[in-house]
């Protein structure tokens, strides 16, 4: 009996199954409105609303950090991240949070920040200015 065709068949079947099941791990970037309606884990990309309060009070709770994010549609929501506040958070240009809407706030379990490139300004490299 020829084994190669069988192996090929198994491989294709495995590939299809993996492909189908891996689709569950993925999602599209959502807006807060979509997160609210879907009630599942989604990723929201947006920017930090710098005029709204950024709350991190480690003496009260070192694992509670909240801030406001403005999504692509311009909707602003409070995001709660149960972790310490990352370095340079205030400087971030773009924020991607993964999590779900719960009781009117976005409960995030992961966050990615994109910070501006550090050394763009002239002042930085003129002697004596730093």
């Amino acid at each position: 009996m020829k084994k190669l065709p069988i192996i090929a068949l198994i491989c294709i079947a495995a590939a299809v199954i993996i492909f189908m099941s891996a689709a569950d791990d993925m999602s599209t970037y959502a807006t807060f409105a979509q997160a609210e309606s879907s009630q599942t884990t989604v990723r929201v990309a947006g920017e930090l609303a710098k005029d709204k309060p950024i709350e991190y009070n480690p003496e009260k709770n070192p694992n509670f950090f909240s801030f406001y994010v403005r999504d692509a549609e311009g909707q602003e929501e409070k995001v709660v991240l149960l972790a310490a506040k990352p370095q340079d958070f205030e400087m971030s240009e773009q924020i991607v949070v993964t999590g779900e809407m719960k009781d009117g706030q976005f409960l995030a379990n992961d966050m990615l920040m994109k910070c501006p490139s550090k050394y763009k300004d002239e002042e930085v490299f003129i002697k004596g200015n730093s």
Partner: protein, 966 residues
């Protein structure tokens, strides 16, 4: 407008550098062309010495030019020639010499140069060792060099909108930026470098990049052999020489990746050695493909099966390296990766690099596909080769899955480009996603690795003995593995059945290979590499299981959450206050102290392991640190520290600091937010707020304060105060200080952390203490020695002039004429004070230094002297005595305490199994390579099994190994 004639630029060096790039580029093209002719001549059986010589010479010059470029650029960097953009961006004056190399390969151009350098070295080795494969293989490598060197050309081509070919590392800063400082001819003296990213200032970063790049670069050799073999239609002859190279590649690339993991574990704070970051993934995929290729290569070499598969794996391995560099350098990964390079406008060229070499492999393979020898009869399912082939397929699957998931950003970009209107996809939880699938890759690989060792090799069992014995040994191996799996499974914190399966596969791989080591009749050198690699692989899996599943947070504070959140959301961070031991999860953790060393602040954290009945076990201090930027404006990175035990590691890093320690901005914001209230107090007097009672104890005119360094001429005032809490019976003492130095006031407040209070002395404490000059009512009098003037209860008597002219607030200068008036002050007939006001003439200008007596509130000035009559014009005044003066003190009761850190502490059990296993696996590859090279050089006998039909065990003579020659 006139051209500015800049001074102090090293234009000659820049010009030499650019010329060297062009020279190398031209030589690379030359060696490519001459290589093609040499190979074609070789194929026709014609003489090709001329072409060969040209190939060798041009390749050599190219290599030397590349070395020259590197030396030149390193020279520029060590000499801080900041007029060059690459130098300015990657070093600064403070950077230690050993990190100049790290800075060199931090940037894209430097890393391309490193890659080019290794390619040149590898090509040199090929030139001297590859025999008849020399011309075709070197030709393919030269073609890679042509494309890579084009990345450094930095020339504009006249088509399209200023299409730029490459980016030169020798660009001047003023050619890149247009900023006002370049209007100054001497701008070179005014600028400094921005320096190396503090995260990269770690010793792993000195050796990790060159090793990794050697690994990346070396994948070109199997690729080049594959294309060469297809080209000259020698589909079998290449299988032996290429194996040495792919073993080298697998070993070095693996070590390079592992070093990256070690760096991440030691210097980064995500807590682990692997994060499934795109940059990690895309360097792992080529390794998987090369390892798959090694296995099919072995099969093909001994049986003639799997030649096509070997071609495919080696071709794809190198293309995967190119694709990896495209992903990490083009900026396409953007938001999904932390350590991708910034964009440099080379996306199109990088894409060209990937596509052209992919097509090169594809076209050659397609043209020769039908000519590649294959076996009509299929491999038997009971043969080892069959299972090795299946194993390679699993590796291919693994690489494919990782690559597909990592490439989502690319797929999104492609969809945008063609306006397909697809939604942008992203993986929600990358780590879980990759682990879920790669777990099964581990299972299959472990099982195949184990079972293959019991199967027949090339049509007959190498493992000695009858099949019955074989089954018994296999049974024992399975049994031992099963028992250990049960033990392991019970020890694992997370009980998923799939982890038990993985543990079994891993143990089975380890034991079957150990069994194979002792029972195989093959020469030791032939199995040692394979056994080390496979035992290492199994050990690595067990290490991953333990350190991954059983890692736990010491810092997990289960009391912190008030039912609001689920179990899995309880945070990993805990706040500890200096000097207050905190018992958490079996450890007593104490923040002992912190110390500043250069621009890093170390936090010394003591850990004491506690057993259930409170007995103290291991005790150690870890010092994670915050690294500040060079200007100390803020924390640049928080670096972890790890305590290593043989069976577990304790890893800790700081996740949060008080604002004062974080950045200058936050420290100022904190200071501004304080709500100071002012309390004027006499010595010994008290006042009460809602929370505290504040008492002024005494005044200290020689005060000390941790931040204050006294200098001569300072006027300093320290107020010793006592602060009591009203609700508790606790007392704290403090001595805030205010200093007047050359007309500037410096304040040194004192933080009372237990009360969240901060106390400072305002500036007007000086006038309160020493009397405000404008409120004094001076009385003038011209006195001869012995004469007096009386103010209130005090009589001032002028005794004499004193030419010594000394006073604490007077600093004599050259040419001064100065004199003291000695006064005695009497009250009720008794002398209570001596005063020495001073008068001086400096540069024809008169000046005076007043004298005062704080205790009684006496003030005296010497306004004029009359040498003719020997009389002095003095001005005297009397103010409140010290005990009646109210001194202002400012108290803020909202000053959050500043003596804490937030930290995360993690225990990694069994992490050493991961390191040991991985090192063993990679060492196995290199050992195998070493023996293959020895075999080639006839240091050990070439081992060629004859296809055995008589079912007898071939027994190569193990004992009579000839002594190595030379």
């Amino acid at each position: 407008m006139d051209e500015i004639q800049y001074v102090n630029e090293h234009l000659t060096a820049g010009a030499i550098g650019r010329a060297a790039v062009v020279l190398a580029f031209v030589c690379a093209i030359l060696s490519l062309v001459s290589g093609i002719f040499a190979t074609q001549a070789q194929r026709k059986g014609e003489a090709n010495q001329g072409w060969q010589r040209m190939l060798g010479t041009s390749y050599g010059i190219m290599g030397l030019s590349i070395v020259g470029i590197i030396v030149l650029l390193l020279t520029m960097m060590t000499n801080h020639w900041y007029e060059f953009q690459y130098v300015q961006q990657h070093v600064n004056d403070e950077l230690p010499f050993r990190y100049v190399f790290t800075a060199f390969w931090e940037g894209q151009e430097g890393s391309f140069l490193l890659w080019l350098f290794w390619n040149s070295v590898l090509g040199g080795v090929i030139w001297f060792t590859a025999g008849r494969w020399r011309a075709p293989v070197l030709t393919i490598i030269a073609s890679v060099q042509v494309v890579l060197l084009s990345m450094l050309l930095g020339v504009y081509l006249p088509f399209g909108e200023n299409f730029r070919l490459g980016s030169s590392p020798f660009l001047l800063l003023r050619e890149v930026m247009d900023i006002p400082i370049f209007n100054q001819a001497d701008y070179v003296d005014l600028i400094e470098g921005t320096g190396l990213n503090p995260l990269l200032q770690n010793y792993w970063m000195i050796i990790h990049p060159p090793t990794l790049f050697l690994g990346f670069a070396s994948t070109v050799v199997p690729f080049a052999y594959a294309v060469a073999a297809l080209w000259i239609k020698d589909h079998k002859g290449w299988l032996t020489p290429v194996l040495r190279w792919s073993l080298f590649s697998g070993g070095i690339l693996g070590i390079g990746i592992l070093m990256g993991g070690a760096w991440a574990y030691e210097a980064l704070n995500f807590g682990g050695y692997w994060a499934w970051d795109p940059v990690e993934n895309t360097s792992l995929v080529p390794w998987l493909l090369i390892v798959a290729g090694i296995h099919t290569n072995l099969v093909a070499k001994s049986t003639g099966y799997s030649i096509k598969a070997t071609y495919i794996f080696y071709l794809l391995g190198f293309v995967a390296v190119l694709y990896s560099s495209f992903l990490t350098r083009s900026g396409v990964l953007g938001e999904t990766s932390v350590h991708a390079f910034t964009e440099m406008g080379l996306e199109n060229q990088l894409l060209f690099l990937v596509v052209s070499f992919f097509l090169m492999g594809l076209v050659f393979l397609a043209l020769r596909w039908t000519q590649i020898p294959k076996k009509e009869k299929e491999e038997a399912a009971s043969s080892r080769e069959f299972w090795m082939f299946l194993g390679s397929l699993v590796l291919l699957f693994s690489g494919g899955m990782i690559l597909a998931s990592t490439s989502l950003p690319v797929i999104n970009k492609v969809s945008d480009f063609f306006e397909l209107g697809m939604d942008h996809l992203t993986i929600n939880e990358p780590v879980a996603h990759y682990n879920k699938y790669q777990l099964w890759v581990g299972v299959f690989m472990g099982m195949f690795t184990a079972t293959a060792q019991y199967f027949r090799w090339k049509g007959r069992s190498v493992a000695a003995g009858s099949s019955q014995k074989l089954l018994i040994r296999m049974g024992v191996s399975i049994l031992v593995s099963f028992l250990l799996t049960v033990v392991t499974f019970n020890a694992l914190a997370t009980a998923g059945w799939q982890f038990a399966v993985l543990a079994f596969a891993a143990y089975f791989a380890v034991f079957s290979n150990i069994d194979y080591l002792f029972t195989s009749k093959l020469a030791l050198w032939q199995r040692i590499g394979s056994v080390a690699a496979h035992v290492g692989f199994g050990t690595m899996l067990i290490g991953i299981l333990f350190s991954g599943l059983n890692q736990h947070q010491i810092s997990k504070n289960t009391f912190a959450m008030d039912g609001l959140l689920g179990e899995e959301q309880i945070g990993k961070n805990v706040l500890i206050v200096k000097g207050l031991p905190m018992v958490i999860n079996g450890y007593e953790v104490t923040y002992l102290s912190d110390s500043l060393d250069g621009n890093r602040r170390d936090y010394h954290i003591q850990y004491r392991e506690l057993s259930k009945d409170g007995v103290i076990g291991n005790e150690f201090v870890l010092s994670p640190y915050a690294l500040y930027t060079n200007d100390f404006a803020k924390v640049a990175s928080m670096n972890p520290d790890t305590k290593h035990y043989w069976d577990h590691d304790v890893f800790t890093h700081i996740t949060g600091l008080p604002p004062g320690a974080q950045s200058a901005d936050l420290a100022k914001a904190f200071e501004d937010s304080l709500d100071y209230k002012r309390f004027p107090l006499a010595i010994g007097a008290s006042t009460e707020t809602e929370k505290h009672r504040l008492t002024l104890l005494e005044v200290n005119e020689q005060p000390t304060h941790p931040d204050y360094e006294p200098e001569p001429g300072d006027l300093a005032l320290g107020l010793k105060v006592k602060l009591e809490r009203l609700d508790f019976d606790t007392v704290q003492y403090a001595e805030p200080v205010v200093v007047l130095r050359e007309n500037l006031v410096y304040s040194f407040p004192t933080q009372i952390n237990p009360f969240s209070a901060r106390i400072q002395v305002p500036e007007d404490a000086f006038s309160a203490r020493f009397g405000a000059e404008n409120k004094l009512d001076y009385r003038d009098a011209t006195l001869k020695p012995g004469e007096t003037v009386t103010v209130d209860d005090y009589t001032f008597r002028f005794d004499k002039f004193d030419g010594e002219a000394q006073h604490t607030n007077y600093k004599r200068e050259e040419g001064d004429v100065a004199v003291n008036a000695k006064l005695s002050v009497l009250k009720d007939g008794a002398v209570v004070a001596d005063m020495n006001p001073l008068f001086y003439i400096r540069n024809n200008e008169p000046g005076q230094v007043k004298d005062f007596d704080v205790k009684h509130g006496l003030h005296a000035r010497l306004a004029k002297i009359d040498p003719a009559t020997g009389s002095a014009l003095v001005a005297v005044a009397v103010s409140d005595p010290a005990e009646n003066v109210l001194l202002p003190i400012e108290l803020a009761e909202n000053a959050s305490r500043s003596d804490w850190v937030v930290l995360e502490a993690t225990v990694f059990p069994g992490i050493n199994l991961f390191w040991i296993g991985t090192i063993m696996m990679l060492a196995g590859l290199l050992i195998a390579m070493g023996f293959r090279i020895a075999e080639k050089r006839k240091l050990i006998p070439a081992y060629e099994l004859k296809v055995d039909t008589s079912n007898q065990v071939a027994s190569p003579n193990l004992t009579s190994r000839p002594e190595p020659v030379g």
